[in-house]
């Protein structure tokens, strides 16, 4: 801790591709994705783990990229919203009116993807529990639930 930028090299699987990045080891995965790799689909809503906009999959599980250090990602597998381009979840969100300003949407898409991979047929209560950490200020969540229902029935 010197006031001098420390840099490390980290190798991990990013959206299915082996990736190596040079970043300060204390940088969060979110800082690394957005500021260094310019993968800006992962959004920064609070940087404190309270809003879910920065949700990514770490070894298949939904986590906050703002509360994960890049040095904790070494050797693991990371999936961002950019890695879910063909997902039915993206489509169902787009078609259900679940997107307004859209800034929270990628975080929701990733969280729903994680849920459906683990539990392809969740109840509404299970959906709400899985999404309770993702804040949306625009939609009132009604159409987000519609989108998840559409993705389940697809």
């Amino acid at each position: 801790m010197s006031g001098v930028r420390v840099v490390g090299r980290y190798s991990f699987i990013l959206n299915g591709r082996p990736t190596t990045v040079e970043a300060p080891p204390g940088y969060t995965l979110l800082e690394t994705l957005r500021q260094i790799l310019h993968l800006t689909g992962t959004k920064d809503g609070c940087s404190s783990g309270d809003c879910g906009a920065c949700t990514v999959l770490l070894d298949g599980k939904a986590v906050h990229s703002c509360l994960t250090l890049i040095s904790q990602v070494e050797g693991r597998e990371v999936t961002t919203v950019e890695g879910l381009a063909g997902s039915k979840v993206v489509k169902s969100f787009a078609e259900s009116g679940a997107v307004q300003c859209g800034y929270c949407t990628p975080g929701f898409v990733v969280a729903v993807e994680a849920l459906l991979r683990a539990n392809p047929n969740p109840s509404i209560e299970e959906v709400k529990e899985a999404l309770r950490g993702n804040l949306c200020r625009c939609t009132g969540y009604v159409k987000i639930l519609d989108a998840v229902k559409m993705a389940i029935s697809d």
Partner: protein, 288 residues
Amino acid sequence: MVSLYDIQVFTPRTLEEALELLDKMGGRTKIIAGGTDLIIQMRHGLAPRRDLINIYGLRELRYIREEHGMVRIGALTTFSEIAASEPIQKHVPFLAEAANTIGSIQIMNKATIGGNLVNASPAADSLPPLYVLDASVKIVGRKGERTVSIERFYKGYKKMDIAPDEILAEISFKIPDTDGRGLFFKHGLRLGDAISVVNGAVWMRRREGVIEDVKISLGAVAPTVVRARRSEEILKGAKPDDENLRQAARAVIHDISPIDDVRGSAGYRAEMAVNYVYMALKRLVMGR
């Protein structure tokens, strides 16, 4: 909000290596596990910015075992794993319930029970169930290991019985009697994730119309989680009628010392401690 661009992060591959690193640099570094509390605290200037020893990947500390009537949980077990664990759900469902409320799914997937314990927030949702279970923590260092009861482990607000060169490695507890029942409760200010204004756990065993044994713990109402011993004494051997439950609930004020903060006043916290204990006792007695 500051960036941690200038810290070093050391990632040991084994517990042994981690202890060696700690031995060398214990005073100047901090251990990071899931990091869901520590990263926020360091970036917000609430904890000093330190170089980190990253033990998040140590698989040897990630397990849930049932053996000889005990449940042992490795310190790096995540709350998702605890909530989904068969032995936990079977023997101590109220601990699974608490694990389910410590934060969002994203937090549960990353946060570890050991991290939650050493973060030492008096509002930590994992603690009240461990208090009524009389759990113990195993602490390891290069010189050896020792086991401390959870109540002894916390010595005051954020003060713990652990040295800078030690690591909290395991939490364990005796599987409670099958004829008892436990319950976890928490008062948050919304239905979604919220830090507890008050939380707690109650475990009760009844026999022949009286309460044979009861344990009550409360969080966020004192510098550490507390056992409501006065209330427990009132109930032991008593009939579970409304008057006794009310009297016992009111008695929790002898064991708590709440303070004001942005989430609620001390007065409100005290009332909530009383009322939640009452509701929990009532639900246990009514069986719903």
